[in-house]
Subunit: 194 residues, 2 copies
């Protein structure tokens, strides 16, 4: 009986996350309410709050889940993203996937940034202390250092990761475009490491 | 008599701009009031308002003046920043000077960004429509295209110019540090163009 309850809970959790993901793909984040997610997932509103604490908790969990999948792919997955390829190939693959992730999750990122602004009074987390950012920065720094021992890999990793957030790149990503950004990364990284 | 009045006005204008510049170098922008600038310049508060319209007008004029000097240097000044050097050398010089400008003017940029946020209701200007940004972007794009005809020069120029504004680079600049950023630009640009 207890095992069945846990299985139900896991199924509900997945259904809620998938429903939120699907809604965020098609609607601006401010229109994706807990009520709407609950209805799309076929659960009660109380179940969403019980599992995720709040709407922000749900958004953060969705972003964390995607970031975990991406991290697993670049640390343990097949090459060229994962181990086994040259640093330059791994970096080109990393930034191409990061551009796709940023373009696909533009609404989600907005929803989280919005949540952060509104909870600013409780202390804002600095970007470089965010565990997701730190994991990306560590990965990129290591690969740059592997390919070029004579450059300031940590600084260049911050510079490359920073390019996603400024206009007009941010607008491209919000519009779902990632090819130009991925090509720009590929040229910068190939130039640096070859 | 009229000529003398014009000369006085020009001298006042310069004295006010230099006083504001000096105060912004030593104090956080919120402490640099029109009263304080006027006192340091040896003019009345009314003269500042008469010349620049408002505190924001003064800040914008100061930023514009520096940007004009910089633009003149990279379009007509001596090499390697100005014409006569290879594209890669000109780009390395441009980004080194831009890093210095950004580090020296961190307080000024904050003062202007703050002014912009508070006047957001009157319609915010998009970064890529700002004439200063456009002039920098045009210059960088052209030099990249001259050095590498096979890359998306406009996109890469936006990416490189965007790196100044994200954390932790923005914090380095606010602390007056520009060497690491300049070195990072030099490695990225040299890799791309050599």
């Amino acid at each position: 009986m207890e095992r069945r309850e846990r299985a139900d809970a896991a199924r509900n959790r997945q259904a809620i996350l998938r429903a939120a993901e699907e809604l965020l793909r098609r609607h601006p984040p401010e229109q994706v309410s807990v009520e709407r997610v609950a209805a799309a997932a076929g659960v009660g509103k109380g179940t969403v709050f019980h599992r995720f604490g709040s709407r922000t908790g749900l958004m953060l969990e969705l972003m964390s889940e995607r970031a975990r999948e991406f991290e697993q792919a670049f640390t343990e997955g097949p090459p060229p993203l994962g181990p086994g390829a040259e640093p330059v190939e791994r970096l080109v693959a990393f930034f191409a996937d990061l551009a796709v992730l940023a373009a696909r999750n533009g609404n989600l990122v907005s929803a989280i940034e919005h949540a952060r602004v509104t909870t600013k009074a409780h202390g804002e987390q600095r970007r470089e202390e965010n565990p997701i950012y730190r994991s990306w920065h560590r990965h990129v720094s290591r690969l740059i250092a592997e390919g070029r021992s004579d450059v300031d890999a940590e600084q260049i990793a911050h510079m490359l990761l920073g390019t996603l957030h400024m206009e007009p790149i941010a607008s491209q990503l919000r519009a779902g475009q990632h090819e130009r950004l991925a090509a720009g990364f590929a040229d910068l990284v190939s130039g640096l490491l070859r």
